[in-house]
């Protein structure tokens, strides 16, 4: 792997940019690996990288049915934060945030990780109670999180409309200054390059079609569109593909897939300095380094793998954005797309072992897994390597749905009285 730096860019430029080499290798699949990771999204690729780096396991294949990073990694609004309510979640997302900090240099790929601050807007008394509860819990968990008055929120985010006569007035906001955004595609490519450099095989256009099991029910490998591949350990990190894959292993799981839409505006000069999100009106917004406003919505009401959503919910999201940021009505939507998000009943992920020996699961990140990318990969690698969950991901087991020990971040954030 050639090292990226300004001098290397310059050198290549002198050579008319001809001397560039592949960022990740394109090997033919071998018949056997120590570990197979299904799904080359950010999570799967990060897992491969950490398996190699931290556990010395390099005989690893990442199998991807399409192009790497083309799942939800390619289509998310890139909000990164760790100000979650419950201790379990806080630890999980803070673990990831810690890894983000310094990651660009570690993997020698500029992920444009930008800690510009994430605002959570409160519109009602109930919102205030919820956000304050988060802030206090965050503080005691050692996670930066603070409360802003409407005026402070406006100072932090000048386009914000804090007029008291708005239909949903701003009555305050939470702020995590260490939160921010990163370049989604770069994350996938950066991890792919770093994993490939350590010998991991990344195999695109290779869909897993069956999970092979031995006499004792243990995993022996997978069938793919590019042939049979053996491995004693198979880790699923396939987001929206998870239910199908688990069914191949004979298991039904508590996940349903919904469309989540996002859109970008035409690029304009910097006008939006942070990330702002409102749970009450279901919209979140930031501005990319290229200048587009990146806007996300709430999930659609019905299950779907179509990766597109209906117009009426888009209208609602945009109306909400215009309500909170009236300056933006004359901006234009440039592109609108959807992803299929894998949602669990408690809106927390599943990361751990499964009832099938040798089969590991990382899924259910739903609308919020981009921020976890390095953390999820790191913990999945640990779980696979050690055949047991790390203490951080232990609470996120499949088992919790049976015992009832849910980690209900959704309930904690909603339910108006």
């Amino acid at each position: 792997m050639s090292h990226f730096s300004f001098p290397s860019l310059l050198a290549k430029a002198m050579g008319a940019n001809k001397g560039w080499t592949r960022q990740w290798a394109k090997p033919q699949p071998k018949s056997r690996y120590d570990v197979i990771i299904v799904g080359a999204g950010g999570h799967g690729l990060a897992c491969a990288y950490y398996l190699a780096k931290e556990h010395g396991i390099t005989n690893v294949a990442v199998l991807e049915k399409g192009w790497l990073g083309g799942g939800n990694t390619a289509r998310n609004t890139t909000v990164i934060r760790s100000n979650y309510l419950y201790d379990e979640s806080a630890r999980l997302y803070e673990h990831a945030l810690g890894l983000w900090e310094g990651l660009s240099r570690e993997i020698n790929y500029n992920l444009m990780f930008s800690q510009r601050g994430v605002l959570g807007l409160a519109h009602t008394v109930h919102d205030v109670q919820i956000l304050k509860r988060h802030i206090h819990a965050n503080r005691l968990n050692g996670i930066d999180s603070e409360w802003l008055t409407p005026e402070q929120a406006k100072a932090f985010c000048p386009p914000l409309n804090i007029s008291a006569c708005a239909r949903y007035p701003i009555v305050g906001a939470s702020l995590q200054r260490r939160g921010g955004v990163a370049r989604h595609d770069g994350v996938a490519w950066g991890f792919a390059r770093a994993a490939s450099a350590r010998g991991v095989h990344i195999i695109e256009n290779c869909a897993v079609t069956a999970i092979n099991r031995g006499a004792g029910g243990e995993v022996t490998g997978v069938e793919t569109t590019r042939g049979t591949i053996g491995a004693q350990k198979v880790a699923l990190s396939a987001a929206a593909g998870t239910s199908g894959l688990m069914e191949m292993a004979g298991l039904k799981i508590p996940i349903e897939c919904f469309t989540l839409q996002a859109l970008v505006s035409e690029p304009v000069a910097p006008v939006f300095p942070c990330v702002a999100m409102s749970n009450t009106v279901h919209a979140y917004i930031s501005q990319s380094d290229k200048g587009e406003l990146v806007i996300g919505a709430g999930t659609e009401q019905y299950f779907s793998y179509s990766q597109r959503g209906p117009l009426h919910s888009l209208e609602h999201t945009i109306a909400a954005v215009c309500e909170m940021f009236p300056l933006f009505t004359r901006l234009r939507m440039l592109r609108n797309w959807g992803g299929s998000v894998d949602v669990t009943p408690d809106r927390s992920p599943i990361l751990g072992l499964t009832p099938v020996p040798g089969l590991y699961l990382n899924a259910g990140w739903g609308t919020g897994g981009f921020k976890a990318t390095p953390g999820a990969g790191h913990l999945l690698a640990f779980t696979v390597a050690q055949n047991r969950p790390h203490t951080i991901n232990a609470p996120f087991s499949l088992k919790r749905f049976q015992t009832g020990r849910l980690i209900d971040e959704a309930a904690a954030a909603a339910v108006a009285h």
Partner: protein, 105 residues
């Protein structure tokens, strides 16, 4: 916006009149107290979530007020068939026949 054939109204009606009500034919155990934790977990949480033909429920909340069932492809989002609550799950052959019929001309 989807156009949904309500089997009670017998009319295609716009999606915003409806709310989605989850997977269909999830039978609530007749006597929940005798269900094991695992069975109850399955009833509460385990879902088919297929990329393809899905049996699901809709509520014509801003219409006739009825819950009903639908067979829909979750990839193309096309409705293949809708039927009243309580009616049996349609057979695969019936669904396949309808899928052919519903191809656009």
């Amino acid at each position: 916006m989807l156009l949904i054939d309500c089997p009670y109204c017998r009319q295609g009606r716009p999606e915003i009149e409806f709310s989605h009500a989850g997977e269909a034919h999830m039978e609530r155990p007749a006597d929940p107290e005798t269900a094991s934790d695992a069975q109850w977990e399955a009833f509460l949480f385990h879902r088919t979530n297929p990329a393809g033909i899905h049996f699901e429920r809709w509520y014509h909340i801003h219409g006739c007020g009825c819950y009903f069932n639908a067979v829909r492809d979750t990839v193309s989002e096309k409705f293949i068939l809708t039927y009243k609550a309580g009616e049996p799950r349609p057979a695969v052959s019936e669904i396949e026949a309808l899928m052919v019929e519903k191809e656009p001309e």
